[in-house]
């Protein structure tokens, strides 16, 4: 019994132990540097790999949703497709528009990728597996995340193309509008945990009552916060149905239309890294980070749980992308300002009520009614003045 627990502990901490073992061979003066390298390099390897896997998963999933095969030529079932895509983008010609602002044009994709990678510093991938346990970790996440907007603007402006400028303007308007609900829906968790440190937030969720975990998503305000956070995260990462900034059928590829070859691949990478990062943040805040969903499953290493949850959220992203059509600009803005923002503010209020009421059934009912009632009222308001009817096409038959 004890031995199996220790075994599980070893499996759980294997990467931490390996790092400690490697650090034993490093001379004292180089220790901080070596420690940093050993923490950062795995993240720099694992997440681009996840990006590669996700691209092929996404294409196959979308294909199946549309009753197609998806890529199935390169390698077994098309699993080598990302490799082929990577080689293609590396060998392609790098075209820079003649009237472009060369320096800014070059810096934009770099800034995007660097900012996307920086946010992984505060994401706890497993127990004791985080690059930097910052006091203000969540704040760091949102602060660095807001630099992405700047990269988007730089890309759109420096290309000197009307499509990229339009795309950049749309992207920034959308990102600023949805950043507020994103941050505000995360505030409920910060209130409950009483800390801005991601590690503390996860540790607080990694306890169990019976077999049930204490994830914040299992409270009315937590569920609402999670839903709001995921919607805002979809908008932040410019994914369908919020993909107006790069709507292929309207403005071709939006702000990165003038990029080609490797820089284009960097944009793609940065976008997916941003999506992973916000998903990982949602996991950290609401879904218990690396904690197992049931107390009897804790023997499975923590990092495996993290990646299982991450993959599940990525699947959800793909599923939503395959289902929903693109929003119109006014719908997008209406939704952000008339539903998301008031809803997240009310949600904070609900979290406060929850905090000050005595634990028990009454608290559950009161807060759930508050959240659901507000949601219903706001959605009625959103629907007002809109005729929803089955559309008939005159010449369809």
């Amino acid at each position: 019994m004890n031995g199996s627990v220790r075994m599980a502990g070893t499996a759980d901490q294997i990467f931490v132990l390996v790092k400690q073992w490697l650090m034993g061979y490093v001379p004292g003066a180089l220790q901080p540097l070596a420690s940093a390298v050993l923490s950062v390099v795995p993240v720099l390897l694992v997440f681009p790999l996840l990006f590669a896997i996700t691209t092929v998963l996404e294409r196959k999933g979308l294909g199946r949703i549309q009753n197609r095969y998806g890529p199935n030529r390169a390698g077994f079932f098309g699993i080598l497709q990302p490799m082929a895509d990577g080689i293609k983008s590396l060998t392609k010609e790098d075209i820079i528009p003649r009237s472009a602002d060369h320096l800014v044009h070059l810096l934009a994709p770099l800034l995007l990728v660097v900012a996307s990678f920086l946010v992984y510093a505060v994401l706890p991938i497993g127990r004791n597996m985080v690059i930097a346990n910052l006091n203000a970790g969540v704040l760091f996440f949102f602060a660095i995340g807001s630099m992405v907007e700047l990269a988007v603007f730089m890309a759109g402006w420096s290309s000197r193309s009307k499509y990229s400028l339009l795309g950049a303007m749309r992207a920034i308007a959308q990102m600023i509008s949805y950043e507020m609900p994103l941050v505000l829906s995360a505030v409920v968790v910060i209130m409950a945990a009483g800390s801005l440190s991601t590690v503390t937030i996860v540790t607080m969720q990694a306890t169990y009552t019976g077999i049930w975990p204490h994830w914040y998503v299992f409270t009315p305000w937590g569920l609402m916060g999670f839903v709001l956070f995921m919607i805002a995260a979809t908008a932040e990462s410019n994914r369908s149905p919020f993909d107006l900034p790069e709507g292929e059928s309207e403005i071709i590829a939006g702000y990165y239309i003038e990029y080609s070859g490797f820089k284009f691949a960097l944009f793609f990478l940065g976008e997916y890294l941003g999506m992973f990062a916000t998903s990982a943040m949602a996991i950290t805040l609401f879904l218990g980070g690396w904690a197992a969903p049931f107390s009897f499953l804790t023997w499975i290493p923590s990092y495996i749980w993290f990646f299982v949850k991450l993959l599940a959220l990525i699947m959800a992203f793909i599923w939503v992308r395959g289902t929903l059509p693109r929003l119109r600009m006014d719908q997008l803005m209406n939704f952000a300002w008339k539903f998301m923002l008031p809803m997240s503010l009310v949600n904070i209020l609900c979290a406060g009520v929850w905090h000050f009421m005595a634990a028990g059934f009454v608290r559950w009912v009161v807060v759930a009614v508050l959240v659901a009632g507000t949601c219903y009222l706001l959605s009625q308001r959103l629907k007002r003045g809109k005729r929803v009817a089955v559309r008939t096409y005159r010449f369809a038959s």
Partner: protein
């Protein structure tokens, strides 16, 4: 005087100076952003984590983007040549230099006598407690100010209705 400080100070000064002297307005805003990031780095160097991240969140995430939007929306004016008389420029620089000299002189004679620095603790929790206890009135006031600014900015920037003067 560490190497980090020197690098960050260099980045900040270069960014700010470029922001004030470049011709293209978008370049100005971009280099301003660089300077602000450098400044945030300096805040982090001074163990003020919360302030540093707030600086990035507010300035890079909001103010720089806002300035960018303003630049793009007043693009027609950006084409006009910047041609202030040389005398104005020189006198401006002279005044700024004079202010700097006075400040530097005051510094050299004033604050050398501070005690040895102790490592302060600015836990986010402490900041929160302070905001909610001793600084609750300023917090409310700033909340009010921000709300007023939000509404005011919206109203000012809103398109004037035709004939509604």
């Amino acid at each position: 005087m560490t190497v980090t400080f020197l690098i960050l100070a260099g980045v900040t000064i270069v960014g700010m100076a470029a922001a004030m002297s470049l011709r293209n307005l978008v370049h100005c805003v971009l280099s301003l952003t660089l300077g602000l990031v450098g400044l945030a780095g300096l805040f982090l160097e001074l163990d003020a984590q919360f302030v540093g991240f707030t600086q990035i969140l507010v300035y890079v995430g909001a103010v720089a983007i806002l300035a960018m939007f303003a630049v793009m929306m007043t693009r027609g004016a950006a084409q006009q040549q910047e041609s202030r008389p040389t005398s104005v420029r020189i006198s401006g620089v002279l005044i700024a230099g004079g202010v700097f000299l006075v400040l530097a002189w005051a510094m050299c004679h004033g604050l050398m006598t501070l005690g040895a620095p102790v490592q302060p603790e600015a836990e986010v929790k402490q900041i929160g407690v302070a905001l909610m206890r001793s600084y609750v009135l300023p917090l409310e006031v700033i909340g009010l100010l921000l709300t007023a600014a939000l509404i005011g900015a919206g109203v000012i920037a809103m398109e004037e209705k035709r004939g509604a003067r």
